[in-house]
Symmetry: C2
Subunit: 346 residues, 2 copies
Amino acid sequence: MNGESTGSVTSGHGSGGRLTQQLTRSILAHFEMAGFETPDKISKFEMEDCAFIGDDAGASDMAVTMDGFTVSPHDFPGGNIGKLAVCGVANDLAVRGVEPLYLTLSLIIEEGLDFAVLDRYMKSSAHTAREGGMRLIAGDTKVVPHGMADKIFIAACAMGKRASRQVLGTGNLREGDILILSTSPGRHGAALAAARFDLDAPGLVSDCALLWPTLKPLLRFDGLRCMRDCTRGGLGTVLCEWAEAASVGVEIAETSIPVSVETNSICDILGFDPLYLASEGCALVAVAPEQAKDCLSLLRQNPISGDAAIIGRVVPDHPRMVGMRTRIGGLRYVDMPVGEILPRIC
Amino acid sequence: MNGESTGSVTSGHGSGGRLTQQLTRSILAHFEMAGFETPDKISKFEMEDCAFIGDDAGASDMAVTMDGFTVSPHDFPGGNIGKLAVCGVANDLAVRGVEPLYLTLSLIIEEGLDFAVLDRYMKSSAHTAREGGMRLIAGDTKVVPHGMADKIFIAACAMGKRASRQVLGTGNLREGDILILSTSPGRHGAALAAARFDLDAPGLVSDCALLWPTLKPLLRFDGLRCMRDCTRGGLGTVLCEWAEAASVGVEIAETSIPVSVETNSICDILGFDPLYLASEGCALVAVAPEQAKDCLSLLRQNPISGDAAIIGRVVPDHPRMVGMRTRIGGLRYVDMPVGEILPRIC
């Protein structure tokens, strides 16, 4: 698209990394060209996890997010596509300080799907919504002939109200900010990889969970800058997006990232980098240095983020780039993945 | 589901008719059982085209709707899946007196889709959104391997603000209300059928269009009861849903329904009943008898509803049922379709 129009979509465009960014930008360009955004506003499509609905003054505190879910396998240790869909959109609100309140679901079902399977997924969606205090308010079902979809795809939309005083976003990032990771990253991707390649991985469970309960208490900090859940593309992609969006340098320490033994084993076997493996219940949090300790303590009070850790900070060096201090003391630059390491993880 | 759990989903469950109703109810049951709605509220899941977001007092006038689009072929006379997705959700708001303002899109793309094709669909979405005054505020793209989807599926969500004084809905229907159809029904379904079965059908174009411009002027009538766009399942399904939801009898006259010559030809060839063919730019409108004439005149001022016609009324007889006076004077009861007459029309 935009000069690429002779090519075709590859699995890499679904990676969440560099190609996904290109694909998204080329789609948004059509909406910009249709006359909505003036040229100098093109960069203003907020590349955040959810959007605030508002008049031009941005007065509203209602926020909306939408995601499609095509995860394979549909059932995995720690969840299924029904639970994942609700956690996925709820977390996109939570990381922007928005309390998830409403849910809509659109199901695309392959003809022949067992009712018992559909029942199981919808039960998971319903229980997760209930747990998260969200009400289902609209939905749709479509059925396509056998072979035209893979069992079931779910698109979900979540809406909620801003509970944070400040609007959280990458625009708030500044030098000295401390980066806290809420839990060990990549467990969702690792669990899916193990399931897909039929690897024996005792104790490896997806981190798929609702983030609002553990992130809500952080909203008391006026030094809270922004948060992001490390889904498709993993922690590495989030770090790169932040550095680029805020034009700041980011430095992390490899040894401080609390990668679990189980995730490390899967990465060793399959040659994956845990930095790029997806999480579905893990948030990166940026906070002012003087509030970092209290922020960390609060996170550690909730079992789903009991292993939260400070992993890095915003630095004056190498703007728009992410550097990682390696185990042996070197500085490795972290970039977004270009291709797809593990398709259909969400 | 609910006693059916040993079966599987059939194409009939995607028809928009009786089986879709059953499928939807069984999914909603999970959300009800998860504890959101008390048993006596089970019937309160509003079976309308969009939902108003509000506190328990229902104070809000923001409305939301969501739909999945799997239309085949993706290009058809009068539109494509990109235009259809935007019209579809915008119209679901429009028929409830809600001005469409915001749009979100979730794309599920099959690996290998040409960028040029994706470009064409997104350009259509963008132009339709622009025409309808809607801003794209969020979106998502997923890519699935070749053979796991049919080119592209789109889920769309639309949000807007209520512009009508009264909340429009089937609960307002009462004896004597006049039913007006905004244009000749079934042209979308007929155009798709012609394309799919490779029939020569000169002049047959989908009615796919934004309804807000022609429905907005009707909001001045305090006797306006409810409106519905006659999509999947067609006019016949909407009539049945209204009769059942409001526990009223409905009577229509076969000769008054402005079915086009082209649609009739397709129905003759394929054995379809135009009552059940989908429209994507045709609304059924219920209005108090004393305002019916003015309402009809206003509709006819807009070219997309220039052939609007009074087709029936709400009657004291046969509550919850729809009777149609046939050409030869008999009364035929109209029921929802049970199976699927034409899969993937939207």
